[in-house]
């Protein structure tokens, strides 16, 4: 559970960084990441 919270925290940090630095004209990459982000905590345990 602790690991899961850390994983979610790191991912939220990456998401915040992206939101702050990505130009609105280029959404393909953030869009792809948005679809992958919810899966990352599970991938951490593989």
């Amino acid at each position: 559970m602790k690991k899961m919270i850390v994983a979610v925290g790191v991912i939220a940090g990456v998401a915040a960084y992206l939101a702050a630095t990505t130009e609105p004209s280029d959404w393909r990459y953030p869009k792809m990441l948005m679809t992958q982000l919810p899966k990352m905590p599970f991938r951490y345990f593989v």
Binding site: T21, D26, L33, F45
Partner: protein, 505 residues
């Protein structure tokens, strides 16, 4: 007592590197190769006197080989003699009258760029200056060390604080990095296509991959006798250390008891017990088919299912009866970065090949291996391979039916853009479609780069070199850290070998 200390499933270079290091550490090691040929997609096959490389066509980052053989205490040159390839690429679009080559030297490449884009020539030198310290730092600190947990990541940052500077490269895109430096469309294309080595187009691939455009200038190499020399050389070193390789030995199951790997079951029912098992195959296949859902906690199973396979690379093999009018070992069909990006989102993901003006354009890279090593073809003849980019699932078609048409369309594209009279000189033609690669090499989806390499599948989010769910199970190959491509796979093998040595001692 188990039969072996270590059993490795898969005789590709990742599995062989791990096996050699384990054997060197005094562990009794067995490699199981499902086919009769070593190397997986880094291999060579012979037919009618022509020797064709199955997939991989060149070696970048030669220090990965030096590092392996240094750890083995053996002479790399004795096992894998290499020939330097220079120029590293020729970029070509005859229809547009565009053609230029990049030599190995950074200064020489800047001079080549200056011929048609003087401003970009200056920024290429700046790009090299900016990225050189980053490349060497990252390679030394990130490439040969495990990155299985956040603690591992923290250790990397503590040991190499400059890594924090590279952090933006993980979250920006290859396209953005390249666009920041280069304005000319052709130069941008020449620095952007390397994103496909990570399995994605420039606008979806992590910015870190922009480093490849510089790494290539450290020198690229071709092994004497074809790409099979690489796995064969590592296998020889492994066997000289006392290791054992079995061919036509297809593993179908990892024997798991109480969430610990105990050995491997082969297709003929034979069971081999081992202190630990290394799955040097696609991680998805390993966990889904060979370990099985019943041995995995639900959240791990969900993680495995969420892994996205990398793109397949259909391969065309051509024997020709003349010296083709090419200038380099690798010739790239010059395609703008915008077209690469649009191709991915508008065609590839929809199961279609790229079409322009009503005709199919097959994107890809030609390798001319017999230019470097004439022994690969009968006298007066040459071998060419074409590595393409096409989806595994074709809308309204099937690769088994479509193969001949694909070859025809690829040859037509090559004639328009790179070799005008190619079809008049072909004496042998064949191809390995994504489905063939899946059947021959057991790569699901024909994914030769294993699992996709975007930030959501990198480092701690990539299947770990030591399984987090099954004790005594380890991973090597393109699916695990650091990733696909020969240097990545070799580095992954080195990492896994090191972990096993520590764990078993």
């Amino acid at each position: 007592m188990p039969d072996y200390d270590v059993v490795v499933i898969g005789g590709g270079i990742g599995g062989l590197a791990t096996a050699a290091l384990c054997q060197k550490a005094g562990l009794k090691t067995l490699v199981l190769e499902q086919s009769e040929r070593i190397g997986g997609c880094c291999s060579t096959y012979e037919t009618e006197g022509f020797h064709f490389d199955v997939g991989a066509s060149v070696l970048e980052m030669p220090h990965a080989f030096e590092e392996l053989f240094r750890r083995l205490g053996m002479d790399r040159e004795k096992y894998i003699p290499l020939i330097e390839v220079d120029p590293i690429y020729d970029y070509c679009d005859l229809e547009k009258g565009r053609r230029f080559s990049y030599p190995t030297s950074v200064e020489g490449t800047a001079e080549a760029i200056a011929q048609f884009a003087p401003e970009d020539a200056k920024t290429f030198l700046k790009f090299a200056k900016d990225f050189t310290p980053l490349v060497s730092g990252l390679v030394e600190n990130f490439f040969y060390d495990p990155c299985m947990s956040f603690l591992d990541s923290l250790k990397l940052v503590i040991r190499y604080p400059q890594m924090l500077k590279a952090l933006p490269l993980f979250v920006t895109t290859h396209q953005k990095v390249v666009s920041k430096y280069f304005k000319n469309e052709d130069v941008t294309a020449s620095m952007a296509f390397q994103s496909f080595y990570g399995g994605l187009p420039p606008d979806l691939c992590a910015g870190l991959y922009a480093m490849i455009g510089l790494l290539e200038h450290e020198g690229i190499f071709y092994p004497e006798g074809g790409m099979i020399r690489v796995p064969a050389g590592i296998q020889e070193a492994f066997e000289d250390l006392g290791g054992e390789t079995r061919f036509n030995a297809r593993a179908i199951r990892v024997i798991v008891e109480n969430r610990a790997a105990k050995g491997v079951e082969l297709w003929d029912g034979e069971e081999i017990t081992a202190g630990c098992v290394v799955g040097a195959i696609n991680a998805k296949k390993l966990y889904e088919d060979m370990v099985g859902r019943e041995h995995l906690p639900w959240h791990v199973w969900r993680g495995v299912q969420s892994l996205v396979l990398s793109m397949p690379c259909p391969m065309i093999y051509l024997g020709v009866d003349y010296e083709p009018p090419l200038r380099a070992h690798h010739t790239m069909n010059l395609t703008s970065a915008d077209v690469m990006n649009d191709y991915w989102s508008d065609y590839y993901l929809k199961g279609k090949l790229y079409t322009k003006g009503g005709r199919t354009e097959v994107m890809g890279l030609i390798s001319w291996a017999s230019k470097i090593d004439p022994s690969l073809a009968p006298e007066g003849k040459h071998v060419l391979t074409h590595m393409g980019l096409a989806p595994y699932n074709l809308v309204g078609n099937d690769w088994d039916r479509f193969k001949e048409q694909y070859i025809d369309e690829a040859i037509a594209t090559i004639e328009r853009s790179m070799i005008p009279d190619l079809s008049e000189h072909i004496v042998y033609r064949d191809m390995a479609s994504p489905k063939d690669l899946e059947r021959m090499l057991l790569h699901p989806g024909g994914a030769v780069y294993g699992i996709q390499t975007d930030i959501s599948h990198m480092a701690v989010f990539r299947p770990a070199n030591r399984s987090k769910a099954i004790k005594n199970l380890y991973l090597a190959g393109a699916s695990t850290h650091p990733g696909g491509g020969i240097p990545g796979v070799l580095a992954g093998g080195i990492i896994t070998g090191g972990i096993i040595e520590k764990d078993m001692s």
